[in-house]
């Protein structure tokens, strides 16, 4: 038999083995098929989840199936892939030739003769021993052709831990994808989304305490205005001038107004440029000047401070400005600026004055105090200077209120008072709403001696998200100076006088005889001194009795001998 015949017979045995190993082959690739199917299911689930989220955000129905349909679709797709792939492998996958012959070798215990011979035949035997190995398989071929192969174990290999995790992940993603299709989720989001978006746009971020502060400030302002109206009726002209100047400064400031008054709405927008707002002068308002000192450190004038504060407040998000009482000219300017401020405040500030105006409790408080509006008009006409004074005081309170707002979230406990509570300066609540924001801008800077930029920045950011940052900590000194201890040390340590040199001198001296008493010789007497102590052994009582008996016995013995 030559190698060609051997090869042909090996081919027949190989086909026989491959047919018998079809199920075995399927079991070998089961893990691979399951892995591929689960991976496909994971990817598809992620795609559906992304589509669902996209449809929610865009407001369109990209994924049309419902929750149950989605779950069934995913699971069915994964399962069908596994089944189809397995069937394909069962029908068309063939065991390797070497595997098939090795199966015969193991069944026949031939020591890999068939597989070895097949390999050597395929590459033509090059050594005598390779040829001998090929010829050695002949008797094995006959056994293989006659053999009835046993059933091969078709037990599926256990799934790996990674595959288990993938399957669990697949089910989780399927559930998530199904849940995203549920009606409650859609309804919930669609229901709340407009309100949420509108609230985000129009709401005053500093709600609650700031509204309360504004309300209290407005009420307090009303009281102050009422008092001032009573006192000052004569200085309308001068106050009008002052108010004009102040309006210019007020308009430059961003102020949160508590609507109720048209003046306040026009002024509270933080009108930049301050054309129509009252601009108090430092001369006519000694309070302001005096207030400025503790409030604002380093600021030059009220007008500049107001402008700066207004600019700050426009950039910041602040509570609704307190209502003011501008003049007619101020009103027109304020209305213009109001619209302009509305646009600006819409960006980052706390809502437009209109919205604040409508919903602010300050407005409601003022309406309640003055439902007709006639008293407000009178005040506008007659007491412009008082408004200026009030606005200046309100500025101070605004600044304190803004500071409170800046600390509103962590310091809500402190917040629910009018402006000025948080202030150490303790300014009165006389500021106009338009100047409130100015004062807020000013006061933190006044309060914080360390840094204006930091205070302004804090103020600008305090209204929004950075509440609670508060005052800059006192700058701590670092470096060697901090290491110095204030321990007084003497420059010199008192020394002690030295003994000095010890001088030794030798003096020549003559020997001198010692004088002593004469002693006469005599006989040696007996010793009269005390002798050395003699140690007596300490005996136990039993030994003492023994010794006593010994001596008694000796005495008796001696007596007996004497008698004898």
């Amino acid at each position: 038999m030559d190698n060609i015949d051997i090869k042909r017979r090996l081919d027949l045995l190989c086909e026989k083995g491959q047919k018998h190993l079809r199920l075995w082959s399927l079991a070998r690739i089961w893990n691979v098929v399951v892995n591929q199917g689960v991976t496909a299911g994971l990817i598809l689930s992620c795609i559906i989840i992304v589509l669902s989220l996209g449809s929610l955000l865009l407001g369109r129905d990209i994924w049309a199936l419902g929750p149950w349909e989605t779950a069934v679709f995913l699971l069915a797709l994964t399962g069908s892939y596994i089944i189809v792939r397995s069937l394909w492998a069962f029908l068309f996958f063939k065991a390797d030739r070497v595997v098939s012959l090795t199966f015969f070798d193991e069944y026949l215990s031939s020591g890999s003769r068939m597989a070895t011979a097949d390999e050597f035949i395929s590459r033509k035997p090059s050594t005598p021993f390779e040829q001998a190995a090929v010829e050695d398989v002949i008797h094995i071929l006959e056994q293989g052709e006659r053999a009835e192969l046993p059933k091969v174990m078709t037990r599926l290999a256990p799934l790996s831990a990674v595959l288990h995790a993938k399957i669990a992940g697949l089910f989780g993603l399927v559930i998530l994808a199904s849940w995203l299709q549920t009606a409650p989720f859609d309804a919930l989001l669609q229901k709340n989304l407009p309100a949420v978006m509108a609230a985000e746009r129009g709401r005053d971020l500093l709600t609650g305490p700031d509204q309360e502060i504004s309300a209290r400030m407005v009420s307090r302002e009303d009281e102050i205005l009422a008092e001032l109206n009573k006192k000052d009726d004569q200085s309308d002209q001068t106050s009008a001038k002052e108010t004009e100047n102040r309006q210019a400064g007020d308009e430059g400031k961003s102020s949160s107004t508590k609507a109720g008054k048209t003046q306040t709405t026009g002024q509270s927008s933080g009108s930049q440029g301050g054309a129509g707002s009252l601009t108090p002068s430092p001369d006519t308002n000694p309070q302001k000047a005096g207030d400025k000192k503790p409030q604002k450190s380093g600021k030059k004038s009220n007008g500049k401070n107001l402008k700066k504060a207004a600019q700050k407040e426009n950039a910041q998000r602040k509570s609704p400005p307190k209502p003011k009482a501008p003049t007619a000219g101020q009103k027109s300017q304020q209305t213009e600026k109001k619209t302009a401020d509305k646009k600006k405040t819409d960006k980052g500030n706390r809502g437009p004055e209109t919205s604040n105006k409508k919903n602010s409790p300050a407005l409601m408080a003022k309406k309640s105090s003055d439902p007709t509006g006639a008293g407000e008009q009178n005040r506008q006409k007659k007491s412009e200077d008082r408004q200026v004074r009030a606005s200046s005081e309100m500025k101070q309170k605004k600044s304190s209120g803004a500071q409170l707002r800046a600390k509103a979230e962590p310091e809500k406990k402190k917040a629910p008072r009018k402006s000025g509570k948080g202030k150490k300066s303790g300014k009165k609540d006389q500021k106009k709403p338009s100047n409130r924001e100015k004062g807020k801008a000013q006061k933190p800077s006044n309060k914080k001696p360390s840094g204006k930029p930091s205070s302004r920045n804090q103020k600008n950011s305090a209204t929004g998200k950075q509440k609670g940052k508060g005052v800059d900590p006192i700058k701590k000194s670092r470096g060697v100076a901090s290491l110095m201890l204030g321990v007084p040390l003497p420059d010199r340590i008192k020394g002690q006088a030295r003994e000095g040199y010890i001088k030794k001198t030798q003096e020549k001296s003559d020997p001198k005889a010692e004088k002593s008493a004469m002693q006469n010789a005599g006989a040696r007497t007996e010793r009269s001194g005390k002798i050395a102590p003699i140690s007596h052994p300490v005996m136990t009582p039993a030994m003492q009795r023994v010794v006593q008996k010994y001596f008694e016995t000796i005495g008796q013995y001696s007596k007996e001998t004497e008698k004898e």
């Binding site: 035997p125 005598p128 010829e135 091969v152």
Partner: protein
């Protein structure tokens, strides 16, 4: 059957037959002297036929020295025995220049060969020698030559070093370095005989009967047998399996089980796979085959790899032996293209 070389295949049949016959003859003569220890005897003969050296480890009194002495008598090889001591120097085993008197009254230096210059060297208690003396064996074992000064002495073939080690008395010993351990093809563990073997030992050694062994082979025949062993073919499947086994002993390898990654500091080197293949060839011939199979490689894995694996501290503290590691590797590495 038409084959490229009909005669060569017939010669292969004859040579394989001769190999098996000689091997069995030598083994039977040794078994006449030795009682039991069949695996050790077969291992020693396989190592000799594969051209390697053997490290035999066992407690005293198990016949390690007698085994090697008997082998030398059976194969008619020049035998020398070296009893290593801590004060032994390399010159004591290699040889040294000796001043001898000449006839004319003069003196001359002649090289006095040491016990290392032999065919079959028994290095008794090699772990008692200093590393300096142990290193003197390295060149002889690897290159089959020794160099003393300017003189290079080629050692006669077949050259085989059989070293013994006492695992009990480790105090005052010098463990063999990895470089030297790697040069031994086999490490065989000699155990205690069974009860029946004790009786046989007593009958043979305490009576009046004396057992004589016959010389059934020679050095040239051993050389020829080594050539036959090297001619045995190795299929790709067996080669792949041997390589994967060696890689399985190396931590961090794809074929290494968790035990190897946890307890092994150093795995087998390429000398290990060489030893596996050479020893498997001898096993294949003894099984009547002309090519190495996976089963042949599995059967020689333990003696080939047990001294080439270095355990780390965790393994030593957990009392994990190299044989345990080899078992894990054998269970983890699958036969290529097999049904397992």
């Amino acid at each position: 059957m038409s084959t490229p070389n009909n005669q060569t295949s017939q010669d292969a049949h004859l040579e394989a037959g001769q190999f098996v016959e000689t091997f069995n003859r030598i083994r039977s003569q040794i078994q006449n002297m030795m009682v039991g220890q069949d695996e050790v005897i077969e291992g020693v003969l396989i190592a000799m036929m594969a051209g390697g050296h053997v490290l035999i480890e066992g407690v005293p009194g198990l016949g390690k020295t007698m085994l090697v002495k008997t082998l030398s008598d059976v194969v008619n090889l020049k035998f020398s025995r070296i009893q290593f001591t801590p004060d032994m120097m390399p010159a004591d085993i290699q040889g040294t220049q000796v001043l001898v008197d000449t006839e004319g009254g003069g003196h001359e230096l002649t090289f006095q060969e040491g016990p290392l210059v032999s065919s079959l060297v028994l290095a008794d208690e090699i772990n008692r020698a200093t590393p300096k003396t142990q290193s003197a064996l390295l060149e002889a074992m690897q290159e089959h030559q020794i160099t003393v000064g300017r003189r290079t002495i080629k050692l006669d073939e077949p050259y085989c070093v059989m070293a013994t080690q006492n695992p009990v008395e480790q105090e005052g010993t010098y463990p063999l370095p990895e470089a030297q351990l790697d040069r031994f093809l086999f490490k065989l563990i000699v155990g205690y005989p069974s009860e029946q073997e004790y009786h046989d030992i007593l009958d043979r050694t305490t009576g009046t009967n004396t057992v004589l062994v016959e010389g059934v082979s020679s050095g040239d025949e051993i050389i020829r047998m080594r050539e036959i062993v090297r001619a045995v073919s190795v299929p790709k499947q067996a080669k792949t399996y041997a390589v994967r086994l060696i890689m399985g002993t190396q931590p961090g390898s794809d074929y290494a089980p968790d035990a190897v990654n946890s307890f092994v500091a150093l795995g087998a080197s390429p000398r290990g796979v060489q030893g596996l293949i050479l020893a498997a060839k001898v096993k294949a011939l003894l099984a009547g085959r002309y090519a190495v199979s996976v089963d042949d490689i599995r059967s020689v894995t333990h003696p080939v790899l047990r001294h080439r694996i270095v355990m780390n501290f965790h393994g030593q503290s957990d009392d994990v032996t190299t044989d345990n590691i080899i078992e894990k590797v054998l269970g983890f590495v699958k036969t290529p293209d097999g049904l397992a």
